[in-house]
């Protein structure tokens, strides 16, 4: 019942929130925090009871869903999904805490957020393509409302752009899903894994999935929704968007694309590797010239997802473990980044880098955390990001030595733009306009500290996380090897 409960917690939470009158704002926030904590506690509990030595899916639960289609509501979990579930619950909980100062339409905000989280949990836990697709859309749609209503800047434009991009992507995935279904009359991952598909079929399916899920990752040139979407979204939603939603694409591509259609994946791998390099380097350059702080962070997210793509393209155990680790590491890091940007924006009401200067005097805590996050993003040893980037490049060198080397260059560019931002905002000439700025308060530090502890903790002792992810990746790679023989 663990997995059902995990999806139900946010839904029950949303139901509770509906019943609380709008005027009891603090009660709404405490209830949200309670459910967030409950979800986090449950996923940590699962993390400990999960048997890391056994291969395959655990906690499998199944009930018939649509009998006439032969589709079951089937949930299960391996190391890969567990790491993503852990990521989701951490960001969910910290996102609630970050939204503590929200004043406008608090109740609806948390309701939509909870529905979104339920969708995300569902995607990571479902063992049936149709169920996964349904959950994917549940994760996409609330976002439209969240950006549209609680966002800032050109939020209407961003919300519609985000939704149209993602739904168009879904249409491609839907076509792939229908083709698979008509071929096999099942969409169950376990059953599909036992079947072998012809090479041309795999190639067609994989490219459809690549486009469909690539929009979410996002891969260049389908990434155009990302900067606007991230920048317009409210803080907690940016955290979820960059931290979790973008990982849905990578997760689905590993689980379905590489896991079930290895020949197709191998065929398109060079293309993914090239796109990965473009993602890493080109978008890093784009991030360098941004004037708006949130656009820098948003573009850096796209650039970092390039590493994930590189790991996917290489398709060996090391690189895939690296890719999944990068998804986890980047999720935590991006959440931290957006939380900090949100806190700074809340105080200064500007995000233009040129407006700042010397903030380290007034906001030493913010400066320290921002610098740490920046260093994590350029892959400094000691952070989990380093571990994952290391794994990706070690794995990728075997298959794409030239492209992998080029992608490493992106780390240098990342260093340039991150340090530039840190320098211009926190150091440099002091801007007297911000002399009375307050630093981050103790309460506001709680979510930030949780995120930093996770980032540093797994950076220093990476084994629990990498072993966990490895448990999920191993069967996928074995299937891949078996399929290519």
């Amino acid at each position: 019942m663990h997995l059902f409960l995990l999806i139900l917690i946010p839904l029950i939470g949303a139901l509770f929130l509906i019943l609380i009158p709008e005027k009891h704002q603090s009660l709404i926030k405490w209830t949200s925090a309670f459910f967030g904590l409950f979800g986090l506690a449950l996923s940590i509990h699962i993390f400990f009871v999960f048997d890391k030595s056994a291969l395959g899916m655990q906690f499998v639960e199944s009930i018939p869903w649509i009998r006439s289609f032969g589709i079951n509501f089937r949930l299960g979990m391996d190391g890969l999904s567990l790491s993503m579930v852990l990521l989701t619950s951490i960001i969910w909980f910290t996102g609630i805490l970050v939204s503590w100062d929200l004043q406008e339409r608090v109740k609806e905000f948390f309701i939509y957020m909870f529905i979104l989280v339920a969708g995300v949990f569902g995607v990571f836990l479902s063992l049936d393509f149709l169920i996964m697709f349904v959950f994917l859309e549940i994760a996409v749609i609330p976002k439209f409302v969240l950006i549209h209503v609680w966002g800032s800047g050109k939020k209407e434009y961003s919300a519609i752009k985000y939704t149209l991009y993602l739904l168009t992507g879904s249409a491609f995935a839907l076509i792939a899903m229908m083709m698979i279904y008509l071929q096999t009359m099942t969409l169950d991952f376990t059953q599909l894994a036992t079947l072998t598909f012809s090479a041309p079929f795999q190639k067609i399916i994989f490219i459809l999935l690549l486009i469909g899920f690539g929009v979410i990752i996002p891969l260049w040139p389908l990434h155009r929704w990302t900067p606007d979407g991230h920048s317009s979204a409210p803080t907690a939603i940016s955290m979820l968007l960059a931290g979790v939603i973008m990982k849905l694409g990578g997760y689905a591509l590993i689980r379905i694309g590489i896991g079930l259609f290895p020949i197709g994946a191998a065929f398109w791998a060079p293309l993914i590797a090239v796109i990965a390099v473009v993602n890493c380097i080109y978008i890093a350059f784009v991030a360098m010239v941004q004037k708006d702080l949130k656009y820098v962070v948003a573009n850096s997210s796209i650039s970092h997802m390039g590493y994930v793509l590189m790991g996917l393209a290489a398709m060996n155990t090391v690189s895939l473990t690296g890719a999944a680790s990068q998804m986890f590491a980047h999720g935590i890091m991006a959440a931290l980044f957006f939380a900090l940007v949100g806190l700074i924006y809340q105080r200064t009401h500007t995000r233009m880098i040129a407006d700042f200067g010397g903030l380290a005097h007034q906001m030493p805590r913010a400066a320290t955390l921002f610098l740490m996050t920046g260093l994590a993003s350029l892959g400094l040893p000691g952070f989990y990001n380093f571990v994952s980037e290391f794994l990706i490049f070690v794995g990728a060198f075997k298959t794409f030595p030239v492209l992998a080397t080029m992608a490493i260059l992106a780390v240098v560019i990342t260093a340039i733009y991150v340090l530039r931002v840190v320098q211009q905002i926190f150091f440099g000439p002091r801007n007297p306009r911000w002399d009375n700025l307050k630093d981050i308060s103790n309460v506001e530090m709680i979510p930030l500290i949780i995120l930093v502890v996770v980032m540093l903790g797994f950076g220093i002792i990476p084994a629990p996380m990498t072993n966990l992810i490895d448990q999920g990746i191993d069967p996928i790679v074995q299937h891949e090897v078996k399929g290519s023989l």
Partner: protein, 475 residues
Amino acid sequence: MNISVVSLELAALSIGFLIIIFGLIFPSFRSSKTGGYLAIIGLLSMLIGSFFLPASNTQTFINAFYVQDDLALFFKQLFILAAIFINAMSLHYLKPYTKNKGDYFALTFFALTGMMVMASAAEFITLYIGLELMTFTFVLLTAYKKQDLKSGEAGLKYILLSAISSGVLLYGLSLLYGLTGKLDFAGISSVFSLGATSPLVVWAIIMLLSGLGFKIALVPFHMWTPDVYEGAPTPITAFLAVGSKAAGFIAFIRVFFHVFSVYTSIFMPLLITLTVLTLLIGNLIALAQTHLKRFLAYSSIAHAGYILLGVIAYSKLGLSAILFYLMLYLFANIGAFAGVTALVINTGHDRIADLTGLWKRSPFLSVIFLISLLSLAGIPPTAGFIGKFYLFTEAIHQGYLWLAALALGMSLVAIYYYLMVLRTLLSGTNEETKSFIIPFSLRLVMIVSAGMTLVIGIWPGPFTDIALRIAQSFL
């Protein structure tokens, strides 16, 4: 004589007449809402009773001209459900337009009877009588807002165009009678199966396709839809969109799955052409609409196109997909039209622009619109997704990949325009900040329809089972 076959029709007629007679005896009854409550109670008991009625191919009436099989009963239940919803929607809506509410509620029963006759008809004259009963009542209901010019215009347009389409249909029927000497479905199809093809059959098929296509608003027989939908009282628009269309589909199913089953090679190309046109024109013109009801009219035209994919698939699963889709289409459309009704009650307008800032004025109504329109757009977790998945998969399964791809592409266009409406609703602020007053009955309709949209979307199993069982019993 098996009276249980026509029990629902008899009940509907008697309740309808009862409301009229009460109105004649007690003048105050005509102007009060009591008639509406009586109507709803009557319909609810009919709905409950309908689940205890026997249904099979052998349940017939008058020389098997009238049959109560699973399919007919399913459609009747759908019609009764729609009638309950629209009567509940009308309770408060009618106040500014008319004093004679009683007649209005009675008329909905006659429309309902017409639809139910169409569902059960196993012979063309019976079918035609049901169709005309439904059409005439709808003309009266459409023009019910007597002071409203648009309502009168809609009524006139509807009766003129219906008359032409009925003429065409009757001409087709006379050809069929001339060719076969029979009018009952089984008789005609048995004559056809002997293999005596005459070129006139093609002509008859074209005539029937246009006559019935008019009712389900297929392009190019859709011209009446936007105007009539816009002018009619909103609950009646909902009844047209849901009930009249479903009644058209049951006739369509019986005629094309049964009577002309030998001539698939003749009518299929025609049907495919019409479907392509309907999908294209319905969806593309919907993009340019500024009035909610006209917008929903074009969306309903487009949905006729999606549902026709099931007819084109021409299989058990195709039929079951149609039935499933009609179920979810009912709930989604009722939700949307109930939303429009609430909007009209509160603002007096039904332009899309009037939705601006609605999320501030009524979060409840916004959520209803969100769920209903997402279902029409076919986005999970609402029921629309499963329905489209079912229809498209079956179309591909029967070899119409290109058609399914077109429908999928057009669904993307549809997603765009539904989102544009939702966007208006979520964005901006209205000078008017008064929060909405939504009467309890309307609220209930919305909750039930939006709730069912979600239930069918999240737990479709039982509903697809029902659809499949009925499709299997028919084919």
